[in-house]
Structures are given as structure tokens and as C-alpha cells.
């Protein structure tokens, strides 16, 4: 595999500056609606607030890779006197929680840094965070080229995990006949 230059997009999260408003969830879900901005729904957002005001826990976390199974164990972290589950920091779309899944289909969601045409100056969550709890940085890195699975493949994989390969094949076959 050859080395290629890659732009690494970074969202820096300063939880001390977070006022807990969830504007990031609102605008993320609106941006990713189809057609764009035609609806909003934090439950579809690819950034979610782990939020427990009484314990002063305000932790934005971004959707990462889909995972079929949850972890065997659960660690706890105590930071600044506050207890967090390791899941609070985890980006996985995982069976253990309702974050990062389409609420109707259960299909996994993943942050795409608001890829857009023409490109957005910054991801929308950063644009809407007026308190600068979320800020945006870019840097270039040399990385090995690899082939990424497309959205459809990730979605299908999760359906296979949920219903089994045969059922998915049967369903696709039945649907293609209808068309």
C-alpha cells in the first residue's frame, strides 16, 4: 500500500466551556436530514451530550465506528472528582445504548465532519457552539492508503449482525423482485 497525504480534521472539546445547551445535537441532526435541514431530531445526531447536570457531567461525544457487540467489562474513570463510565467517552454505535443509531431503523450513525459540497468551513456543531466548547483544527498527516467500507456496507453489516445474513439476503432478494 502506498503512503498518501491526508487531512486530519480535529474537533477539540473543552468541557469546561460547555453550557450544556445541546445546540450541537440540534444542528447536526438538521444538517444530516434529507433534504438537508428539513427536520431536526437530537436522537439522530452524530454528536451526543452525556449529560447529568446534578453531577456537573457535560460531555459531548462523537459517533465513531459501528460495533456489533458491547464490551465485556465496563471501567469507570474518576476525573476531577466526577465519575464517568468508559462508555461516556466511547464513540461506538453499540448495542449497549441508544446513542448513534437512527431511532426508527436502528442503523448506525457516524460523524462525517459535515462533508458537504461546497465544503463547510467547519463542522456545523462547531459553528453553532458559541461558547467555544467545540473548536476546529486541521492538520496533515502521511498515512497508508486503505479502502474504507461505504455507508451501505456499514449499514448492511449491522443488519446482518442483528438479523443474520440469510434473512438480509432473502429480504434484499424479495425487495429487488418487487422493483
Amino acid at each position: 500500500m502506498s503512503k498518501v497525504k491526508k487531512k486530519i480534521k480535529i474537533i477539540k472539546i473543552d468541557i469546561d466551556k460547555c453550557n450544556g445547551c445541546r445546540a450541537c445535537e440540534v444542528i447536526c441532526s438538521a444538517f444530516h436530514a434529507n433534504p438537508k435541514y428539513s427536520s431536526d431530531n437530537p436522537a439522530r445526531s452524530r454528536i451526543r451530550m452525556v449529560r447529568d447536570p446534578i453531577r456537573d457531567v457535560y460531555l459531548p461525544v462523537y459517533a465513531g465506528e459501528y460495533t456489533a457487540a458491547e464490551c465485556m467489562g465496563r471501567d469507570k474513570y474518576v476525573l476531577d472528582g466526577k465519575e464517568y463510565s468508559e462508555c461516556d467517552f466511547c464513540r461506538a454505535s453499540c448495542p449497549s445504548r441508544d446513542f448513534f443509531k437512527e431511532p426508527d431503523s436502528g442503523l448506525p450513525l457516524k460523524c462525517d465532519m459535515c462533508e458537504d459540497d461546497p465544503p463547510q468551513e467547519k463542522p456545523l456543531c462547531v459553528q453553532w457552539c458559541l461558547n467555544n466548547a467545540l473548536t476546529y483544527e486541521e492538520r496533515e498527516e502521511e498515512v497508508e492508503e486503505d479502502v474504507k467500507p461505504g455507508d451501505v456496507e456499514v449499514g448492511l453489516e449491522s443488519m446482518v449482525d442483528k438479523y443474520g445474513l440469510q434473512k438480509v439476503i432473502d429480504t434484499v432478494a424479495r425487495m429487488s423482485k418487487k422493483e
Binding site: C21, R22, A23, A30, K36, Y37, P53, I54, D56, P103
Partner: protein
Amino acid sequence: MRYAETGYNLEIDLTRGNIERVATDPKLTELHLGGLGTNAKILWDRVPPEVEPFSSDNLLIFGTGLLTGTPAPGANRTIISTISPQTNLMAYSMMGGFFAPELKHAGYDKVIFRGKSPKLVYIWINNDKVEIRDASHLRGKGTVETAELIKQELNEPNAQVAAIGLAGENRVYTASIEQGRSSSSRLGVGAVMGDKVVKAIVVRGTKDINLAQPAEFIGLCNDVLQYIKVRADNPVPGVMTILQGLGSPQEMLHVDEAWHTQNFMWGNARVRRKDFWNKEIEERWKSVQLDVRKRLISCYNCPMKCGAIITVPGISTYMMKCFSKLTYTMAAFVDDLDFGFKIAQRATEYGVDGFSTPQIMAFAFELKEAGVLTDADFAGCPTDNEGKFYWLLDRIVRREGIGDVLANGVYWAARQIGKGAEAFDHNTIKKHEQLPLKLGMLNPVYFLMYATGEKINITQIEGQFPQSPFPTMEERQAFIKDWIQVPDEKFKQYLLDWELRGDHSNPFYPTVDMSVDIVDWQEKMHYIDDALGVCAGLSSFPLKPPYHIHNYPKIISAAAGIAMDEAKLTQIYNRNRNLIRAINARRGLTRADEKPPEDHWKKRFPELEEKLLDAYYKFKGWDNRGIPTKKSLQELDLAYVAEDLEPRGIIKNE
């Protein structure tokens, strides 16, 4: 498809345990927008004037605004409407927080309660699944405690909970409904919830809210955010700190309380302590506030930070906003702010109105000093100022002894106690406790707002127009230069000509007609906000806000797909304003009720005040008793209201 709203209300009959999801008429949205407007329509249609506040026929409505839950910044308000046990008029108390957006995402614009539950229950709304659940294990629990227990019990950390405390369960007239950092506290809505035997409403919603013109709408939202940034960088000069920026007064941020402590009244709205603030107090208060304040926080989808998480060592955490850090402190004559943060924690768990309740207690101790109430009434009460207030707060929320009388608020308690106690009820309007503010010269604009405001709470009526004139012409010129929010250029001239002294000063300037114009503008913005569910802190309350009469029509059109312009929006405001006036007129509100406290200003002008009321009523299309005329109701598509009021003799033959 319905846009911005869901098109469904949840109707819950508590007596029968019946739950229905009812489609709403889109025509009503066009006529009233939503929120306060449609709440008022439901109360008019379904709660006749003979229904008592604690009747099972009274409704308790949790309404979202038309824009609530859309990406419009600050559109997060829950508008709670019912008949107030304190005033026997329509109550519309509101709260920010996270409840209303969650309710809309669950698929409902409103929850409407009728009847009374046979036992203590809470309501669990989880999208389409709605349950009435036993709450007997939550009896007597605090509001914050209740929310935490329910979220654990349901294993739903992201559910939003609106709950009452002991005060609501015991139908204390100043009982609030608490929801995390926000509370709906005025006019006894918590008492009505307690009367309906509902401990809490819990909601989780994961459905979409649709937007009619997506790109236009987001563009307008981005403009609002941009303007918020502009205002953050450009505080209004020449006005006191808390009025310079956006949001509700930034009481959690600012520690300098020289202005409030020296200009607001202490005790039972009596004593002004002009020399209170000094270096030592400033340092002590600052260290107390910074010490207990864990984080500045906002409501749903709003960049402001009007609230705070408060943790006082040794007592459980709660959230606070606005002015309640000072209301108990000043009413109790306690010089240490530490007390304010401590007693507010207990008061929040009990669920009481932080404005009215301290005044009731100060009133009671004044009566004790005057010998109207006796030592027997206060048997067991400590003698120190702090201890006294804790003791009495405990009695009031439990309705024990003298607390049972005081739980009905200053007005009713004074009449029940008798023996001259009425004379100590000097700071209520329409039976409702007011800010402890006593001033010198009558301000005609404020006179009208205090007298006629249906919300009976000045902070929910004022805004937009400066509270006092700028001393120099240069300052006035600078202020009007970028004053884009004015509905008409004439307001700029009013401000330019307004002087501190001389012919162009209070009380005769702004003139009667100008005062009416100014009040109408301020009121209009509040009514629109309350129908849209947008926080007054980004709109009707502060100077130079991001939402105003010129961008609202576009925002409404783009979100809801309803054709809108300034004239149509003004018509909707007038319709909602008149409908609420009609509800209250039908319940007996008269011109005689429309007066600020006698001692609100030292210098009063009875003749001018009558002229102001006459002109205001005329401008509104009301007769000189403050009753909407048949003609003006007909023009507002409210002919059915006139048809009801006429046979009752409330509308007299014109």
C-alpha cells in the same frame, strides 16, 4: 404534513385514567400560532368562568411554542396555563429548560390534564407510549430528588422531568413546577398540579420535527446566532450591567450586587438600605458565589448562560437562575449571600415561587412585630433571621399552623388574619406578589405595564424600550443608530426627546399616546414569544435582541410554512391579547383591579393615571372598563367571544 408543530395534543383525563392523542386543527395555528395563544383558546372553549381553580373541571395545560424544538435558538419554552388559585384568573406561567423540546420530539404540542387522579401518580410519556404510573413512593420528595429517582427507576437518563415538591402536593398558592434548571413558578401552577394529584410528568422523545423551508429557515437561524455574537461584543453602554447584554439578567455570572441590594427593598418591600454595599461585603459575596457555582448553564439550544449549577457544601446540588439568590436574602434581612444559596436549595426542592414566597414570609414577620400575629402563632420559631425563615418556609409548604394561612399568599392571608393585616398587603397587584421595588417619580410606561399586564409580573412585560432616559443627546444618538428592532421610526424620536428633567421627563413624557405605543410594542413582543416558545431573554426582554418584529414573520413562515407578515403577526398578537383579556373579564377582572401598589411610586398622578388607562383601553379596542368591544372582537375573528360575553352582560350594548 405539519411543520414546526406536531399537530397532536395529548389529552389526559386523570379521574378516569384515560389517555388520548388528539389531532389539532391547523387553522388554530394560523389564528393563534401556538403556545400561549392556543392554550388560551383551549381555556376559553373548555373552562367556563364558574369553574374554580381546584375544580376537577379546571385544565392544566403544558404547551410548547410553535418554534419550540426547531433549531431556532432559544425556542425551548414550556407555557403552562390554568386558572390560578391565587388570582382566580388565567395563569400563564412559563419555563425554559429542556422539557418542551423533548415533548415535541415525543410527538405532542401540548399535554392537557383534566380531572383529578384518585392517587398520587406520575405521567411517563415515551414517544407513542404514555402511561399513568403510581407515585406513592415519591410523596413528599423534593423536586430535584423526584426527577433523579424517576430517571433511575425508568433507566432513562435522557428523560426530562417536570415535578412538584411538597408545596405543590399541599396546594400552596405559590407552588411551582420545577424542571432541572428551570421552573414555572408564578401564579400557583404547582398547586393546580398538586390538586390534580400529579407528582411529575416525564418525557422522552426521539421523533423528527419538520421544517417547511429548510434552507431559508437555517439561514435565518444563523443570522440570529450571528447577531447574538455581535451583541456579546457590543454591550449597550449607559445602562446598568445586567441590562447591557442579552439573556435574562445575568445574576449567576455577575457578583456585583450594589444595584439590587441598594435599590430594591428589603423585608416586606419596605426598607431601602442605601449604604449596604461595601468592600467587605463585596469580597465575601463574591467568594461565596464563585465557591458554590459549579458551572454556568443554559436552556435547550441557547448559547446564553443564565443559570448555574449550585453546590453548597453539605447540601445537595440544585440549579438556579436569575434573581432568587437575593430574594430570600433580602426579605429575611440577612447580610450573607451564603444564606440565599442555602435556603434556595430547600425552596427548590419544596417547589415554591422564589419571588412570592420570601415576601409572604417577610410579611408574616412584619405582622408579628406589629402584634397582629402573636407569639403563639410562632411557637417554636427561632429568633435569628436565618432560622426564622427556614422555620416558616417549612410551616408554609406543610400548611402547618400559621403556615396554612400564609400558604395562600399575602393577599388571602391578610384577609384571613384580619385585625388590620390588610394594611400590610402593600405590594400585590391582582392578589399577586410583586418585585420589592419602590420608586420616586411615576413612570407612565411602567404604570401601564404594571396595571394592565395579564401575566401580573413586570419582568415578563417590560423590555425593548430603555427603562430611563439617557442623560445626553450623544448617548441617545448612539443608541438609536443601530436600533433595528423598532417597529416604527417614531420610537427613536420618543427616545431622543426623553429627558431626565423638565417638560420632556416623567411623568408627562413620554406622553399618554407615546406611552401606549411603547407598551403595545413591548407587550406585542412578549405575546409573540410566548406563542412561539422563544425565550424572552433573546427577544422581548433585553435591549436590542436578535429576534424582533421584522425577522419574526420570515422565521415563522420558513419554519411552519404559514404565510406571515408584520401586519398579520400583529393581528395574531392582538387576537391572543384580546382572548386572554376576555377570559379574565369573564372571570370578573375589572378596571378597579388594574392598579400598581399605592406605594410603588412616591409621586403619583391620579388624573394622568386615569388618562393613561383610558388611552390604553381605547388603543386596544376596549371600552373604558377594560372590556374588549364587540366590534374589536369581530375584527379579530373572535365574534364567538363577543357572543358569549354579551348575554353575560360583560359586553354592554354599544
